[in-house]
Symmetry: C2
């Protein structure tokens, strides 16, 4: 039987695998680990990489926490189940901010949640935020996600891609955070889909990360860049900060529930910039990138 | 009779006065003005200064907007007045991010709000965020505020100073944003205090800004600083970004109500940084500064 222990162990293994692949592709940066415990139950293994050859700042975080079911979840439970009193949540969160503006920022999260009334679900997402959108790379990224999704359910990619477009969106800028990816939450067992099948899907997504992102690192890490490219990168990072601090549900939830601040805010870049009313030049690469920051672009047609 | 037009005109004049005094002390930077209109009624005069001698990025914003009373305000109206349908709001908002880490960041806001049922109030605040807390400067700043408050009501300073301590606080860091100042909201007419008297107080606060802040600019702008001082400044600016995007009510309200994003986010610095788990050296100036970032410090004893 697929237990929370098996899922937890697999997340730990995934953290190891991803850190090793990133260190290898980076060639210099090494993850530093902080183990922490949560007074109310559980803890985590925060791994941070800074000042690598390719990665300027990034984190690959594992956590497994448990305790009393928070009030908002009790209220939120629309299923007709027995009342729950205890929860267990485990997962991996990743954000990588590269040094070179032509290497995209990436984010991935995969997670499992269960309560003692037998209710459980998986959630997750992976999305790419290029400072400069390169269409070939965007197609490669979305194709990789679609291939992984299609092995499990032919409806997943379209559904979860739209979910990502809607989730990774900055209303006050009327821009998507980047070129999206997939996002899913509360994936629950059904007659057609067992817990084992859901876990296999989440594993597939987790395993899609290393080859996909290291290829994008490898392809772009040597690209020469100008002062203007760097400035644009910092401005794009500013938008990333805006999304994470104003809208990201995981960040808000973590900060509001007295989570470990340094782990939650590892998603913020080493440096970000804001310029008043910056408007890219007409027909520039920057303007072209902005034209791709909208919902509903089909990258796998 | 003191009308909204008189108050509005005075805010416009205050914007002129403050911009002139900041340009004079800066010696190089010039404010650039953007006039904007709000589809639902009213508009503003956004003035931004960038790349000055002393000021790296800052804004002095005027706005006067009107329209239907928003639902949350109707609900919020605990006074026993006639129902209101129209509101009018005007004010000035300022944030200045200096280039030199030894010149503090400053923020001020003064505002007036009225509804067509006769309810009106003043609000505002001014607070200082030194990258390095200099006790002499902190005492000077708070003494200036207390002097201004005391001319109007001997209870104002203590009350509004505590309000600022509570408001300009970053719970997830367990730090105040800076050394505080004063904060007040919904200052309404009473038997003892007329509209004219409240306005005179708000004018007093507005007029306290130029001599107080330009003195702090002047005193500190030539101070030599190291790479380490600059890095610390960027980290402190990161906290400023965290406060403004996660907690500041004006920012949240503006972004949620489709305000002018570039005006609202003028409060963000040109550049900010985040480092994982940065801990200042024991007995350093940085550590000393952190020790002052807490509520309840009496700077005018």
């Amino acid at each position: 039987m697929l237990t929370k222990e098996i899922i937890t162990d697999w997340f730990l293994l995934l953290q190891d695998t991803i850190c090793a692949s990133l260190e290898k592709e980076d060639g210099k940066g090494k993850f530093v680990e902080d183990k922490w415990t949560r007074p109310e139950g559980g803890g985590g293994r925060t791994r941070i990489i800074q000042n690598g050859n390719v990665i300027e700042k990034g984190g690959v975080l594992f956590s497994a926490v448990y305790g009393d079911v928070p009030a908002f979840l009790k209220k939120d439970d629309s299923t007709e189940n027995l009342p729950a009193s205890q929860f267990y949540a485990t997962g991996i969160s990743i954000v990588i901010h590269p040094e070179n503006p032509f290497v995209p920022i990436i984010h991935m999260n995969v997670r499992y949640f269960e309560m003692d009334n037998g209710v459980f679900w998986f959630g997750g997402g992976i999305d790419l935020t290029p400072h400069y959108v390169v269409e070939e790379d965007a197609r490669f990224f979305h194709s990789a996600l679609k291939t992984s999704c299609d092995k499990h359910d032919m409806n997943y990619y379209a559904h979860f891609k739209k979910w990502a477009d809607d989730y990774f969106f900055i209303p006050h800028r009327n821009e998507t955070r980047g070129i999206g990816g997939i996002f899913f939450d509360k994936l629950m067992e059904t007659k057609e889909t067992s817990r084992e099948q859901l876990f296999a899907f989440v594993q597939e997504i987790g395993n899609t990360f290393p080859p996909t992102y290291t290829r994008l690192m490898n392809k772009n890490k040597e690209k020469r860049n100008t002062k203007e490219n760097k400035h644009w990168q910092l401005l794009r990072r500013g938008r990333y900060v805006e999304f994470n601090l104003v809208y990201d549900k995981g960040t808000k939830f973590g900060l509001e529930t007295n989570g470990r601040t340094e782990s939650i805010l590892m998603s913020l870049p080493e440096t970000a910039s804001w310029a008043y009313n910056f408007i890219p030049e007409v027909n520039s690469e920057e303007e072209k990138t902005l034209s791709f920051l909208k919902k509903g672009i089909d990258w796998v047609q």
